[in-house]
């Protein structure tokens, strides 16, 4: 029965045929048998066998063995706690030891009710304590950052968090200190735990030791609902659960999509949700009133005004999009102005090309690559954080991560993945052209990614073009500018357009962005309040669910009402709108088929090859001494993050990254104070030497770049 690849393992008397080398925990699970674990978590690398929860009896071995560190071998006979008294005794012993110093404060612990330690204690543990001495006590809870608190008394030292920090996010910030019974989890040098991925440890923790401060005392498991949706903070589109209690989002959890996020989230996606309750959230429409300034108006009045402005523009309407609208919202807006006002002009914050459709891959394919070519000079983690974790995983598995398609490693490699992280990629056209030049089309395991700045730029572009084939006419004046969403409202180019427009309608969530320059402000909604679809950077269509109701009508509802006033028929709900556009963009897929864990379907009419013209590299420095300034938009920025107090510590440091060569040539070391100068303006920053950065650039978060542009002189301050 057993083939060379399949082996027979007997677990509790049941024969299991499974691939050789499968972990014993998974092998048992395939037969419906649970082997309880705490420290075991395959995503964290090699098992460590630390907690001793998974002790089982293996025939031929005198001692109990940890199932997590064993793999299926032919003829192996395993007895779990179900059939082995010795194993049951071992697991019971482990739980007794774990509980010896545990405070048993479940009634006030946020983990209570969804705690693996509680669950396994009920199933495998002792019902009574035999421990009558003083338990180890520690100061608690300790905020290891503004977003995460640590309770060392509840900690069972499974080392999941430190392994995450060491082997997944590779920041090395979480460590164990001291030895034996006094071992504690801590951050290196007691600095706050900082970085794009820290929050994942709150989900990895199998007890109530590492908890999100935002969720502290907020809800109990029996009064919450976890709504499956997709994160709208960046173009990755991580799958998430929004934990909702009484109409409020209380926390965001990961919802493992193995091809997209592997169950990891970035802190922006995890902790950014409190922007829903920002103090300056707009809940009612606002209208500019002559001599009286701005005042809240009813929705009827607002729609009257919007209709008036649309008609008064006489077809000279421009829509500035954010790229964070759902496909359905973008389609609805397009239909409103293209069919209702005869205007076809839209402005997207970035270029989006469909040239990459021939090189589509799931993100998980990066981990299987032999060579990953990272192009563009912006940090991957700042644009699309989870992509950075995939690249790190590839490197740990032995892949070469290089900065040029001409690198020797690329030649002869079978699986090459290109990643474009930065501006100048023409929406993916350039990286597609490179993929074409390297002959990656149709090669298994090969592909290319472009990291856009907007979460749904592609979907918005799809929707806009699905509505009409008419080309925009050149208009010398703008009658009405419709600014859709917060990113557009915060964009300087859009503000400049507004100066030229006769009137402006802004759809925004926040007073801070909308106040003062619009004739009419309509309350915007968040991705957490919307039903609809997004297309992520893989080209994957995904389903957003409304997790909580918005404070007023949704965009789809009022656009539909406005459209009706202009004689345009438009459904007010996402499934119907999707049905209307799906045939044009998504092969007639129905809304229900998009799926909770959406597959990567690709585009029906995706071109097999790209014929994009080669694009020249940016011109080199003219004076030969300066470094090209790369001013990137940091992950922890934007309208939502600015409204989350506990994320402010994550804002980028006032520092400039330099390559080792450039730093050496200027006598600069990490920590030095340096001056960056260009065209008469200068900025003083702290230097950080980054060995992985390519030469000739100076990388700065845009909020610290001041008035710098182009090429900068970098000098060390005395």
């Amino acid at each position: 029965m057993s083939t060379p690849d399949a082996v027979r393992v007997t677990i509790d008397g049941q024969d299991v045929h499974i691939a050789k080398g499968t972990g014993l925990v998974e092998t048992a699970l395939s037969a419906g048998i649970e082997i309880p674990v705490f420290c075991y978590e395959p995503r964290l690398g090699e098992p460590i066998g630390a907690c001793r929860m998974c002790l089982v009896e293996v025939e031929g071995m005198p001692k109990l063995q940890t199932a997590c560190t064993m793999t299926a071998q032919d003829g192996m006979v395993v007895k779990t706690a179900r059939t082995s008294k010795k194993s049951a005794e071992g697991q019971n012993a482990t739980l007794e030891f774990i509980l010896v110093n545990h405070p048993l404060d479940c009634p006030v612990c946020d983990k209570g009710g969804e705690c693996p330690l509680q669950d396994l204690t009920f199933r495998y543990g002792p019902g009574k304590t035999r421990m009558s001495f003083e338990k180890t006590t520690f100061e608690k809870p300790i905020p290891i950052s503004p977003t995460i608190s640590l309770d060392r008394e509840r900690c069972i030292l499974c080392y999941r968090c430190t392994r995450f920090s060491e082997s997944v996010s590779e920041d090395g910030q979480l460590v164990a200190r001291n030895r034996g019974a006094m071992s504690v989890i801590t951050t290196f040098a007691d600095e706050p735990y900082t970085g794009p991925f820290t929050g994942n440890v709150t989900e990895l923790c199998p007890v109530g030791a590492l908890l999100p401060t935002q969720y502290r005392f907020e809800a109990r498991p029996w009064e919450i609902v976890d709504v499956p949706t997709v994160c709208g903070m960046c173009p990755v589109g991580c799958n998430t659960h929004a934990t909702v209690r009484e109409g409020k989002v209380k926390r965001i959890l990961s919802r493992n999509h193995p091809e997209i996020d592997e169950g990891w989230l970035c802190d922006k996606g995890r902790f950014g949700f409190t922007h829903l309750r920002a103090a300056d959230r707009i809940v009612d429409p606002i209208k500019r009133v002559r001599r009286r300034g701005f005042e809240p108006v009813s929705w009827d009045d607002a729609l009257d005004e919007a209709e008036r402005l649309l008609r008064a523009a006489h077809g000279r309407v421009v829509v500035a999009l954010s790229g964070s609208e759902t496909v359905e919202e973008a389609y609805a807006l397009a239909k409103l102005v293209r069919h209702g006002a005869g205007s076809h002009e839209a402005v997207l914050p970035e270029e989006i090309s469909d040239a990459l459709d021939a090189y589509r891959l799931p993100l998980s394919a990066i981990a299987g690559a032999q060579v990953v070519v990272v192009l563009g000079d912006e940090p991957v983690a700042e644009r699309a954080p989870i992509v950075d974790l995939w690249i790190k995983q590839a490197r740990r598995k032995g892949a070469k991560v290089v900065g040029s398609p001409d690198d020797d490693a690329v030649r002869g490699a079978e699986r090459v993945v290109l990643v474009w992280s930065g501006p100048g990629g023409r929406g993916g056209a350039r990286v597609a052209e490179l993929a074409e030049r390297l002959g990656l089309a149709g090669k298994p395991g090969c592909g290319a990614f472009y990291l856009p700045q907007t979460p749904n730029g592609r979907g918005v572009a799809d929707a806009w073009s699905a509505c009409s084939d008419d080309e925009p006419a050149e208009a010398d004046s703008i009658g009405l500018l419709i600014v859709s969403g917060d990113e557009a409202a915060g964009n300087d180019n859009v503000r400049a357009l507004a100066e030229r427009a006769d009137s402006v309608i802004v759809v925004s969530m926040f007073h801070g962005l909308a106040a003062g320059w619009a004739d009419l402000v309509l309350p915007g909604t968040s991705y957490l309040e919307r039903d609809g679809t997004y297309v992520n950077l893989e080209g994957r269509l995904q389903r957003l669910r409304q997790t909580v109701p918005p404070p007023g009508p949704s965009e789809l509802e009022w656009i539909s009402q406005l459209a009706a006033r202009l004689g345009v028929e438009l459904a007010p709900d996402a499934p119907a709108v999707f049905a209307e556009l799906s045939a044009r963009c998504y092969g007639g897929l129905s809304f229900g088929e998009v799926g909770e864990r959406a597959p990567l379907r690709g585009y029906v009419d995706a071109p097999a090859h790209v014929e994009a013209p080669p694009v020249p590299e940016p011109a080199p420095s003219t004076n030969g001494h300066g470094l090209r300034l790369v001013a990137y938009k940091p992950l922890f920025s934007g309208p939502a993050v600015e409204r989350v107090t506990e994320l402010q510590f994550q804002r980028p440091q006032a520092e400039v990254e330099l390559s080792a060569d450039d730093a050496k040539a200027r006598g600069i070391s990490t920590g030095d104070s340096v001056t960056l100068g260009s065209n008469g303006s200068s900025v003083v920053l702290r230097a950080r030497v980054n060995k992985r950065l390519r030469a000739s650039i100076a990388r700065v978060a845009v909020e610290h770049a001041g008035g710098l542009s182009g090429y900068v002189e970098v000098t060390r301050n005395a």
């Binding site: 001692k63 560190t69 012993a93 030891f97 010896v100 030292l157 164990a176 030895r179 071992s183």
Partner: protein, 448 residues
Amino acid sequence: METRIGAEPPVVILDGALEEPLRDLDSYRAVGGYAQLERARAMTPQQVTEALIQSNLRGRGGAFFPTGRKASFIPTPDKVAKPIYLTVNADESEPGTFKDREIMLRVPHRLIEGCLIAAHAIQSKHVFIYIRGEYSTEYEVLGAALAEVRAAGLLADVELTIHRGAGAYICGEETALLESLEGKRGQPRSKPPFPAIEGLYDSPTLINNVETITNVPKVLELGPEEYAQIGAPPDSTGTRVFCLSGNVVRPGAYEAPHGITVRHLIEDLGGGIADGRQLKAVMVGGSSFPVMTADQIDMRLDVDSLAQKGLFIGSGVITAIDDRTCIVQFALRIAQFYMHESCGKCTPCRVGTRWLVQLVRSFEEGSASEEDFDLLLDVCDRIIGKCLCVLGDSAAMPVASCVTKFRDEFRAHLEHGGCPFGEDSSLAHLFAPSDQHHHNPVAQEAPV
């Protein structure tokens, strides 16, 4: 204070160094040093391994695993695209053990010669000696010997690195040693994979104790057949440098063949129990193992004889415990040591060692109850065989043996409401003084 050196012939490990240490290259060469290296290098690696297998030399670090067989597990360089490492465990930290220290001080070149022969046997080009951090003189002596060897060109294409530990007992556990050598937190790894396949830097690694490796030149010099006749063949061949301490007249490091009795070591070589006291128990093998009672001292020190009584030869420790010693205090001190040295990685050891200390202390204070005997033994039982490495067992086994073998003495503490052994710590003459010695005498003078 100089350690006393003695021997019961035949002398193998300390041969030529009983009177004066053989520290410099010339004096070592004068007794035939490095001749075996030359011979070994003329042999094939397989022939050297075969000789080790024939000699039945076994590991002196405590586990007594056949050295030749362990070497034969190392894949040959044509089978793996990784370097092959030899790592010598000189992190001697077991309470009562001081043999590796004497070996490094007296025959450093014999250790280095053994390293180079063993490296040849497994075709390793890089040898690491991981030496206990507190061994500063030993580090200097070994370093000076290495400098001579390097200058004399004896290393050939082999690199030998001496690395100092940083004071953790657990780093004497082979996989924790490898972690520490790699610059990581010193915690044991789960096995398999075994170091022979994935050891240092995930590469095949042979790990041997100092004393084991020092035997290697002698195996070749005497010939494996003759070596295998020494001691208590077939299983316990060769000699040991026994570490005799405790309350004996002449404590010291004594090289003697396997099979010598405990009585012979204590009474004849060690001059018996000092101050006319009575022997109460013997710590045999090290603090990690069950204690031997005074009536068992005619037992031969070979692995088979000891195993019949549930005892272990360990790292050759013989610590005589006389009748002044409170066994409860002794057990508490052992438990404290392991609580202090537990690395904290696995649950039963990290939690169990602390619980053991609390339990034994409650006996010492006289606050325990009769039911606590069962609890204490059950906690030991729940540690033994369930930990990631043997450190947990090392705490539980001796404590459990003290309880079962000296139950009356434990009970006396309960009856007296405290320790009946008077005001001073009864461990003062047994172990080096330490503020960790724990003692709760009863208020009134009690009969001993």
